[in-house]
């Protein structure tokens, strides 16, 4: 089981690096979908099949589809790849690599100090997830739904047709 986890993690890491380095936006998004799918596999291996399924349905299957949809609508041609190539130079990612490097060193030190125990999996069934969601975490669920409703109303307001606006 542990080697399956490391394989999925390696795929996720590789795909994430590819997301950052691809110049073509659609290719980058496809690698991101792959990264999300391998994350779903990791969730599955850690004993959370429900979260794994939701990861695929919501992130890979809906949100990323919307991203691809928007990029298709913009229909950016080869000139955007050239633009990306100009932006993607040393001075852009020098700072980012420095910060990420600090995190990497921290991670290595943390791993050397105490390597966490290999996977001790207890499966969390959909039943248990829903019991805790609508039991102790009910307030959080309600707050999130209110936040989403506000976003929905805001999007509707922004997307409203101009002539339907009432005259002052």
């Amino acid at each position: 089981m542990v080697w399956l986890f490391y394989l999925a993690a390696a795929v996720a890491l590789f795909c994430t690096v590819m997301v950052i380095t691809r110049l073509n936006a659609v290719h980058a998004l496809l690698y991101m979908v792959m990264a999300l799918l391998s994350l779903a596999l990791i969730f599955f291996l850690l004993g959370a099949p429900f979260i794994a399924a939701l990861e695929v349905i919501v992130y890979a299957g809906a949100i990323m589809v919307l991203f691809v949809f928007v990029i298709m609508m913009l229909n950016i041609g080869p000139q955007s790849v050239d633009q990306e190539r100009r932006w993607f130079n040393l001075s852009t990612w020098r700072g980012l690599v420095f910060i990420a490097g600090i995190l990497l060193i921290e991670l290595i030190i943390a791993l050397r100090l105490g390597f966490p125990e290999p996977l001790d999996v207890t499966e969390v069934t959909p039943h248990q997830v829903s019991l805790s969601l609508f039991g102790p975490y009910l307030l959080g669920v309600e707050l999130a739904s209110m936040l989403l409703l506000a976003g929905l109303v805001g999007a509707y307001h922004l997307g409203r047709r101009e002539q339907e606006r009432p005259k002052k």
Binding site: V26, H27, L30, A52, A53, L54, V65, V68
Partner: protein
């Protein structure tokens, strides 16, 4: 013997699904012909049964051409996605006791996940072809499938509430007393609509509307890559039909005949229904299609879910 059983299941289901999809091409052409008062393919072999073989030989020997303006890796990936996702979904379908690849306790969610991933196939095909008709087809399908997916999951939620499980085997077992199409009739209707839209069959085949988009997202495809889209569509019909049977019509349950035969019979009825819909209904306009999803189907599924949840909570059946 028992060590071989999983492999037998896997390859049996794979072989069965692909054969069914290939045969559906012939079935559809014959049935359409019957309803349109003509013969259909009846020259090759008995009843024209070998027409499929002839078509396959032809499509394999055709030139498989990739247009120079296409995005090559994505162009090749797109038809593979539809085949993979649909075949993966067949893994969770319980055909009969003991027949079926895997019994997930999240089987239903797995099906929904795979069907939401299959959107990529059409979208990427439309985008990578780099032609305006394909792009229009791809965008239409993205909008259509996203909208219909919203209530596809919700329409099944009523069944989940009544069965108390996401596992498809448990759902079939929960229908021993009464098949779910009676208490969940609204769920059945809405899921059927969503299924039609997900497989983009007529009357919801706007992504590939021949008369306006010249086959839409796959107009640049030829040879076996086109064949993959074609077989993928028929696999989708078989999948949605068997899923309707599992969720609403008691799966393999039925008197006298062996379970697997019952499953096959029920599924065939829905496959025929899909074809009859194609033969009889015209295509709506795209805005009508979207309005239908958001203004009619979504409220209906929500209503169904609220009523089902309330009744189950009140009477606990």
């Amino acid at each position: 013997m028992s060590a071989w059983l999983p492999w037998l299941n896997i390859f049996g289901v794979l072989f069965g699904a692909l054969t069914t999809a290939a045969m559906l091409i012939w079935v559809e052409r014959r049935l359409l012909a019957v309803w349109q008062d003509r013969y259909g393919p009846n020259r090759v072999g008995p009843f024209g049964l070998l027409q499929v073989v002839a078509d396959v030989i032809k499509i394999f020997t055709k030139e498989d051409w990739i247009p120079p303006f296409a995005d090559k890796p994505v162009f090749i990936l797109a038809p593979a996605v539809v085949m993979t996702t649909v075949l993966m979904s067949f893994a969770v379908i319980p055909f009969a006791p003991g027949i079926g690849v895997v019994d997930f306790n999240i089987g239903l969610l797995f099906f929904l996940a795979m069907s939401s991933l299959s959107v990529y196939s059409v979208m990427l095909a439309g985008w990578s072809s780099n032609s305006k008709y394909s792009l229009l087809g791809g965008m239409r399908s993205a909008a259509q499938m996203l909208s219909y997916e919203v209530f596809m999951g919700l329409s099944l939620a009523g069944v989940v509430v009544m069965a108390g499980s996401f596992s498809l085997r448990d759902i079939v077992e929960a229908q021993r007393n009464v098949w779910f199409f009676i208490p969940q009739f609204l769920g059945l209707v809405t899921f059927l609509m969503a299924g039609l839209a997900e497989t983009h069959r007529l009357p919801f085949d706007l992504p590939e509307a021949e008369s306006e988009l010249i086959a839409g997202y796959h107009s640049e495809y030829s040879g076996m890559k086109f064949g993959m889209f074609f077989v993928g569509e028929y696999l989708g019909i078989a999948l949605i039909s068997s899923f309707i049977v599992t969720m609403f019509f008691g799966g393999w349950l039925g008197p006298f005949l062996p379970p697997f035969v019952w499953f096959g019979l029920k599924t065939s009825v829905f496959v025929a229904l899909f074809i009859l819909l194609r033969a009889s209904l015209p295509r709506p306009r795209f805005d009508q299609l979207m309005a239908f999803a958001w203004k009619a189907m979504l409220p209906l599924t929500l209503l169904n879910l609220v009523v089902t949840g309330g009744l189950v909570l009140a009477f606990g059946f």
